[in-house]
Symmetry: C2
Subunit: 701 residues, 2 copies
């Protein structure tokens, strides 16, 4: 055997100790905002001194939900104190759960307050039901996780709306339509025998932010998911999630009575069809007594629906609602548009649904996207909000970033959602107020990726959706700070700097993809990257050129009275303000107006100059974000810092691509030179047009 002898000395041994193996458990993002990293400094000393304990209470009505609440408190408190496991002292502060009855959905919320019990310190979490106590337990940990002293936490909260829902566009084969974080977290194939523990952690994360409903499958639904073998699978999920206060919903294919039941029709007014659905609902409720109900996409993008039989959306929804009865709800999507309809696509949902106001059954909810088009980076609020006062309506947002860079970069969606929630409909309140009696749904962005959401920062969007559904009055900034403190660092400067990055990020994406109200300029099919030149797709309203309407003279979609008249679908005061380019919100300028390239903007310069400036602002904003993130290296664990840095490297590349390709194309249309001092596109337009991405993710395959 060969022999060798290294030099060993004290210095080297010291270095060896420092170079000790990497931590056995790298920061991989799996813990999300439930990381419960040890507190620091005074906050740590305070919590350790308080020595909180969560006693096992003997003789109290127990439940799986309370057991979870207690376990979460123990786990979280131990983590915050930097302990492996709870420690007991004689001077412990007792965390008392006073939780009312087992049944209940937590709608009454919870209170948290410090008290003294038998002369000793305590913190009482009180609620009317066990789910309320679970919410309170997570809220206590959230406050502690931001460094607040245990004895000073006083909260009294209740959710703004009864329905706080995630819609999964997950397919039974494990693919996810518009999913950018791996495969579906639901392994349908191996259910019901095998329940991935990840699905319990998913429920924990949802419960911690108050999400209480999950539609488990894609709205482009497969009929076989209503077969008995799938009901058994769904039951396993429902049983696992019930203690976390989560009800399951199923996306149902309207033509299932034909595909599964062998009926010759799916006409909602056919008694056999109604009977089939009634029997199917009974079958599901026998397995899952608290089944939430059906989510339905009908007569939209090729899905079957009641209009196939000359019936209305109300006819279809009400038939299903009757099958379900008072056991649950039918959520009917307002996202519809038709090939045969040459109306401005953004007008079709209003035109079709508004006349049906008052015709829907009590247990039908109309689910309306935030804007009238399709989850673009920025859209004005949907004109149906406020326009159907006799109908239960809810908001549908997209957490997954189909049109906002997918799973790369840093994009925080809360400011864009807030823009919609806070918008005054002119018809009895803001969008938040209009939907408050029902609630909100978000198209989920989670997948099988270890960090759940593809990028670490996308978890902030999941978190923010839940927090806004619970309380739409929360500011995007507050939510960003909460999330950052629990996820990355409690250092105030770090929280402030990351918060600042997050708040600006969405605007940068708007700037480099669709500034000043432009929209729907993305690549065909995969919706990835720029393709404003596309004008040859089978249907007019699939083409970017349909939406931007750029020509030699100007750009933008005229939706005023001189154009498609879409503005008339809004309340008169709103319509009047937006009808005048001078008073219109510049964020929606080209959404509603065709504007000359040389038109002077109120803030100075021409439209063309303003557009170019916006594109540049977006690109430079991402560059600055990446630099700021790089300078945060010492404040963030190396694993997650490196991952986000890589995300931002991709986003810098993509931002420049969007800007360059878009400018090159607009120049090919308007023949205008770039404003002086502007960097020209890196490549000729033809090169951008040639790029193809046959392997782009998200198509649900």
């Amino acid at each position: 055997m060969m022999r060798g002898r290294g030099l060993v000395n004290g210095f080297a041994m010291m270095v060896a100790a420092m170079l000790a193996a990497a931590p056995l458990h790298a920061e991989d993002g799996y813990a999300l905002w439930l990381r419960h990293a040890p507190l620091e400094g005074e906050a740590l000393a305070n919590l350790r001194a308080a020595a909180p304990i969560v006693p096992v209470v003997v003789g109290r009505p127990d439940s799986p939900t309370l057991a979870i609440a207690e376990a979460e408190l123990r786990r979280g408190l131990a983590g915050l104190q930097g302990y492996d496991r709870p420690r007991l002292t004689r001077d412990s502060t007792e965390i008392v759960l006073s939780c009312g009855k087992e049944q209940g959905d937590g709608a009454a919320g919870f209170g948290i307050a410090p008290e003294r019990i038998d002369g000793r310190p305590a913190v009482v979490i009180a609620a009317r039901d066990h789910v309320g106590c679970l919410y309170g337990s997570f809220a206590l940990l959230r406050e502690l996780g931001q460094g607040r002293p245990l004895g000073e936490i006083r909260l009294s909260e209740a959710p703004a709306s009864p329905l706080r829902m995630l819609n999964h566009w997950d397919n039974p084969d494990g693919s996810v339509e518009r999913g950018y974080a791996g495969r579906s977290i639901i392994d349908w194939w191996h259910l019901p025998e095998k329940l991935d523990p990840r699905l319990v952690d998913y429920a924990r994360a949802n419960a911690s932010i108050g999400i209480n409903a999950v539609a488990v499958n894609n709205v482009n639904a497969r009929a076989f998911m209503l077969e008995p073998r799938y009901i058994a699978k769904l039951k396993r999920l429902a049983d696992a999630w019930r203690p976390y206060g989560i009800r399951v919903f199923l996306s149902a294919r309207f033509s299932a009575p034909m595909e599964l039941g062998g009926l010759p029709t799916a006409d909602p007014l056919d008694p056999q069809v109604a009977a089939w659905w009634k029997a199917k609902a009974d079958e599901i409720y026998a397995a899952i007594p608290d089944f939430g109900g059906f989510l339905v996409k009908a007569n939209s993008e090729g899905q079957p629906g009641p209009q196939d039989y000359g019936r209305s959306h109300a006819d279809g929804a009400n038939m299903l609602a009757a099958a379900i009865g008072d056991r649950g709800t039918v959520i009917w999507r307002a996202f519809i548009y038709r090939a045969e309809d040459s109306t401005d696509r953004t007008m079709q949902a209003y035109a079709e649904f508004q006349p049906l106001d008052g015709q829907f059954a009590d247990n039908v909810i109309l689910q309306i996207k935030n804007g009238p088009l399709d989850f673009q980076p920025r859209e004005p609020f949907h004109p149906l909000f406020g326009a159907m006062p006799k109908t239960r309506v809810m908001l549908e947002t997209q957490i997954t970033r189909e049109y906002l860079g997918q799973a790369s970069g840093l994009v925080y969606l809360a400011p864009l959602w807030k823009e919609v929630l806070d918008a005054d409909t002119g018809r009895g309140g803001t969008v938040a107020q209009i939907v408050a009696p029902v609630g909100m749904a978000g198209v989920a962005n989670v997948g099988s990726d270890r960090n759940w959401t593809g990028t670490h920062f996308d978890a902030a969007n999941w978190y923010a959706f839940g927090r806004l559904a619970w309380d739409p009055a929360l500011s995007a900034s507050t939510i960003a700070r909460e999330w950052t403190a629990q996820t990355f660092s409690r250092d105030p400067e770090t929280v402030a700097r990351i918060g600042a990055l997050m708040l600006e990020a969405g605007e940068f994406v708007v700037d480099y993809t669709g500034p000043l109200g432009l929209a729907h300029l993305m690549g065909t099919g995969h919706h990835y990257g720029p393709a404003p030149w596309v004008c040859d797709l089978g249907r007019p309203d699939w083409n970017p050129c349909y939406f931007h309407r750029a020509d030699k003279d100007g750009i933008g979609f005229d939706r005023t009275t001189g154009g498609s008249q879409a503005l008339a679908q809004y309340a008169p005061a709103i319509a009047a303000q937006w009808s005048n380019p001078a008073t219109a919100d510049p964020r929606y300028l080209l959404w509603f107006h065709h504007v000359r390239w040389d038109a002077l903007m109120p803030w100075g310069g021409t439209l063309w100059e303003a557009l170019v400036r916006r594109y540049d602002r977006g690109v430079k904003g991402v560059d600055a974000t990446a630099e700021e993130w790089a300078s945060l290296a010492s404040a963030i664990d190396p694993e997650r810092h490196a991952a986000v840095a890589a995300d931002l490297a991709i986003q810098r590349k993509e931002a420049r691509w969007w800007r360059d390709a878009s400018l090159a194309y607009w120049q090919s249309v308007n023949g205008l030179p770039l404003p002086s001092g502007t960097e020209p596109p890196a490549e000729p337009l033809s090169r951008y047009r040639q790029r193809t991405f046959p392997e782009a993710p998200g198509g649900g395959q």
Copy 2:
């Protein structure tokens, strides 16, 4: 606020302490066999007393590979000692790495021996190059991980073959053909900017078992993976894996000169085509100087190839080999069969390739599947082994369980691989001896699932493949024990019991899917579940009926001189033995013979009775495995115990389904009653035939 007061007493507080939060890091399988769980009892005391340290050696030529070896040793030793991080004492046993030159592929292996240095205890790992030292470091941890005392470990090993390879059938869109463990671990979309840390852990795991080559993409290759943007992605992988001694190979589409280069032909004898490939190879080698080479599936299952131009496989392979030159290798697959060819499908590869022996360039390797059909649960060895003495040949096995239940149940493949490796070809040695000068490839079973392989036990197949490629003389039993001790438990009884389960498992799958040499009876497309009745597919050799040939009188494929004459492709001694049903290996009986249902078996009873008995043995075997596993609950952590129990619940269901559907079908053909005492199929044949699984995984979508 509501108030409540629980009863707290000493007992309750004790219970509270016991009910402490679940461990922060559940056993999720991610660590694989590199778990390095703390030793127990005397072994722990011994290792702590030895206090091994891995010094940082000053002044020695350093390299990324040595840094990894040192870090792995530190991490592993700390884990085995139950420490968070290495501890230093004055009486430490030094682990000395004596590693020769940096360059080298570890082919000379390593030695490990205890020594005394300057009067103090030491363990020396010596090798001719740094990769050899890395292999030695992992080997030391492997021995320690089985509880062997540090001072008694003496090893001197070198790999049996130069090429120990994983072939990924991973597609650039993240799907995996015949992948049952989630998506591809390679996120092509976000490369080169973003390298998932999982890919480094993948390299660690491979290096720990001596795997030194990875073909990164599906042999059904896309041409665009040869574009510059993909070469940049591949370079990032190569750079990350190089320190682990792993070279990357790329599956290349033969028609790429047309699709990417715009040439009118891909004729391998066309000078422009050869020039295109030469330029492409130069481009790759400029980025990746140690690029392994191309893996090619040509003229098989619709892939383009040299025969499209009237050229031979040798013409095609040699043209690519010339492009690569002495920088690397072309691996050409022998798995071919053609629609136009009515020859017995199992004969086509031999018929096509054997005559080409001696015509392949020196840097071409012919990759031959273990058997002549297609990775069936059991096949006789491929007749090409030994039949091409002037050609470099390697073995291709399938680690992913396309035809063996996919990712559920417990199936340990090493015994089935050993059956092939140990088979005497009658032409100069066993299969292991024939391929020793080149090596082995396994179609990878890893994916994005947290435990890498879908089920915990499938990691044993990855492990076993690497160990057998390193040393095909290892027994399946030894490898099972090694893996179990490092993965689950070192308790000797537990190791013995789990080892026993593993060794029997493969035979049970053969029994309930294709006993006595039956094969290719699976469902269409997804290859899931039984479908022996299928007889209407477009090509004869896609149909199960083509392979089983069951009729009223008998069952089996006559490949004797009276039949397809496939036996004539084997060495005369083998052919003679197998030609006689009485002397044929019963494991391959119906592979080579059409046997009457009422034929008497040498071991008693009729063929029909023997078949039924085999099916029953498979089902009962899985039942017993599940019961045995249940009884191991106290010996295994609850997370992994529950996961495997669920896997086995699925396998029980599937085993019964295979048995019942198969028996029902054979009865419909032979009209025979079941032997007395046999349980009849649970459902009528028609019900089994009706089952459809449109969402079955593994199709690469």
